[in-house]
Symmetry: C2
């Protein structure tokens, strides 16, 4: 008998009918002989509805502590209803809030990190034969304040809980079959990966393959929790995310990701003095602006140009911040560019394979597109390019790296076809 | 500076606008120099909406533990929003759930009693200058299970909390100006009482003057908490509920209450054997049927008749129970009567004043109505009569006991007119 953590997102429990379907799924798993701990998010639009309500009460950003009090009710509703739905099917079940589950966090609101889990109530309830339903996204500080984990919080709850109770598996149920070699809406022959490594998943997650939150993947990597991303609507195998993922021979790229939420900012004519770059980026960090790729061109006549990318939503704020420090730093000009896209190829074997980058640049240039910025890591290469030909670029890359034809390597095993 | 507990019901915080109005009211009280602890119920129809949701998930009565998990989210939403609304007006505020407020209850769901309050967090937050907002209706067992207090629970929370923090006053805000001498919809000259004793209030509360839950009044009596029932829409003084209430000279009846939710059952020809009566009423108690007035006529030829009242909603169940024990007890016949009403006069001075009952019977008989059952206590007399002339009876009694004309005694003081 194995111990399985199952996580269901808000759309999987969006209404009473879906809630019952999820309950049925859990009961089947239980009756197959598994002990089940279920982590669930707030139902469908609940969180947005609560945010709307707060906006009617408070102009501007409401106090974060009270927002946490407000929003955590969403999962409490889900867990109690899901427990009822399971009991309606004749199985024992018990629901717990974050604090009841012993999930302790930092004393920070809206985006607390889990510091410690004391799962004795959860473990006792499992021993007593219950399906245990835990509210995702939430925890408690040592002082008894209610906190939330921020975006992707329920994934993190599931993974952290799986680590704390030493579960055999942490299953993330979602509306897709698993992690794909690229976006199936763009590339029809894109297909589900059977396995992917934590590091690859981290890059894919960060790059917009939004099935798993990066923080949850990091947590899984740190505690060596085997994740399975699978559909809540089908019985397909899903994608296993673990330390060592099998790669088909001759294939070095696992998947192709893209991100449309990208803007480029260039700062021109920055006087060459020590610490200038640090001043610019600490000013941006202070304003909570996330910076992704940074590229500096060579220094000419004592002044340098550099460029970086940020998210579209942060662009205006970033430009304001730069305007504010323009005089003190003494740079000449700031330009920005939108309608861009970041395309990335991801694969753990890339580092030991020459020519991977060259292939990418060739594909892009053959399509007549110029590359605005490039960034590389051991397991990925990202290019920021004009966004108008995104589909063609992704499709051509998918073909160029042999992902169209290696079907037998990624899809297979009898379990896949049931 | 005094310490005041203010309780607002669900309709007072039914939407964002009302929530803001309540916040304004609280902030005024705070700026008048009072320390304020606020107890609040779930917004408007929230509880009913949550119950509806549970019905879509679970046929029949859902597990009580999970219902408590579900329903307590309602007050958690209210407290967080109310805290935001107060902060929006520039005052410090902090919201707490039942468990965060240290409200411990029996390990019973749906109708737990408060066993113990450990208000250190509440007290600390008051000291720090906060308005403290506490979720009504809910608590926690010693084992960390979330419980609810059942009907009228928020009133009880407010009173128990007032006792625990030694508040000077517990104000119950409602949609009426206070406790009235009788129902103003029936008697136009009915008017607000300035003072009423705990015992009188208990009778009035039980008899259908639904402004205060009996359990809360009992709690207030036991811990000598001064209650004030007042309007959340006006600045009128309200009604003080306390141990000794001043009574105008010559007036013995404080108020007239009625209850339409009453049915009479008569059991005829019960063989005169010891323990028969006990058998009948323990069978009814086992079926959770509340019995109010019980009257036994004399024994004739070894058999007796007796009658009792119960609520209309329990009538069918009571008749079933009686049918089930008919043979074993050996009574002849059961009859029942509906379309009745129970009219009661309440007043602490009644016991020492002769002729009070006689006046009541006279008034009723002058209207040509026969009295079906009578019950008396030290501070009240109740008559069960045909319901068709309820208004006339109440109006005539109001006049007969001098309540129409004693305006100066009940309404007065300059504060009343502001």
């Amino acid at each position: 008998m194995s111990l399985v953590v199952m996580k269901f997102g808000g759309s999987s429990v969006g209404d009473a009918e879906r809630m019952k379907r999820v309950a049925k799924r859990i009961v089947e798993r239980k009756r197959d002989g598994h002990s089940c701990v279920v982590v669930v998010s707030a139902m469908g639009d609940t969180t947005d509805d609560l945010i709307d309500l707060s906006k009617q009460i408070y102009d501007g950003a409401p106090p974060a502590r009270e927002m946490d009090m407000l929003l955590t009710t969403g999962e409490q509703v889900s867990v109690s209803l899901l427990s009822m739905a399971i009991q309606a099917l004749g199985e024992k079940a018990v629901s717990y809030t974050g604090w009841q589950s012993g999930i302790y966090t930092e004393a920070v609101h809206a985006k607390a990190r889990i510091t410690n889990i004391q799962p004795h109530r959860v473990l006792k309830s499992i021993e007593e034969g219950n399906v245990v339903i835990v509210a995702g996204f939430q925890g408690m500080t040592e002082e008894g304040e209610i906190t939330t984990l921020g975006r992707g919080g329920s994934d993190t709850t599931a993974v952290a809980l799986a680590a704390a109770i030493k579960a055999d598996l942490c299953e993330i149920y979602t509306d897709v079959d698993g992690v794909y070699s690229t976006d199936p809406r763009i590339v029809k022959v894109a297909r589900k990966l059977n396995e992917v490594s934590y590091d690859e998943m981290l890059e894919l997650a960060n790059l917009g393959a939004a099935v798993l939150h990066p923080r949850a993947v990091e947590y899984a990597k740190n505690y060596n929790v085997t994740l399975v991303v699978r559909s809540s609507f089908t019985y397909n195998e899903g994608t296993h995310v673990k330390e060592e993922a099998v790669m088909e021979q001759g294939i070095v790229v696992r998947g192709i990701a893209y991100d449309k939420n990208v803007a480029r900012i260039s700062i021109l004519g920055v006087p060459e003095k020590p610490g200038q770059l640090a001043s610019v980026f600490s000013a941006l960090a202070k304003a909570q602006i996330d910076v992704d790729i940074i590229v500096q061109s060579g220094v000419i006549a004592g002044s340098a140009d550099f460029s970086f990318t940020t998210s579209l939503s942060d662009l205006d704020k970033a430009l304001q911040v730069l305007e504010g420090i323009r005089e003190s730093i003494g740079f000449r000009e700031v330009t920005s560019q939108v309608n861009l896209v970041k395309v990335s190829i991801v694969g753990a074997g890339m580092v030991s394979t020459p020519g991977v980058a060259a292939t990418m640049f060739e594909v892009i240039s053959k399509l007549g597109i110029s590359i605005s910025l490039v960034s590389t890591s051991e397991i990925k290469i990202s290019c920021v390019i004009d966004g108008s030909q995104l589909s063609e670029v992704v499709r051509e890359l998918h073909t160029a790296y042999g992902l169209d034809t290696s079907e037998q390597a990624f899809v297979g095993g009898p379990s896949e076809r049931r």
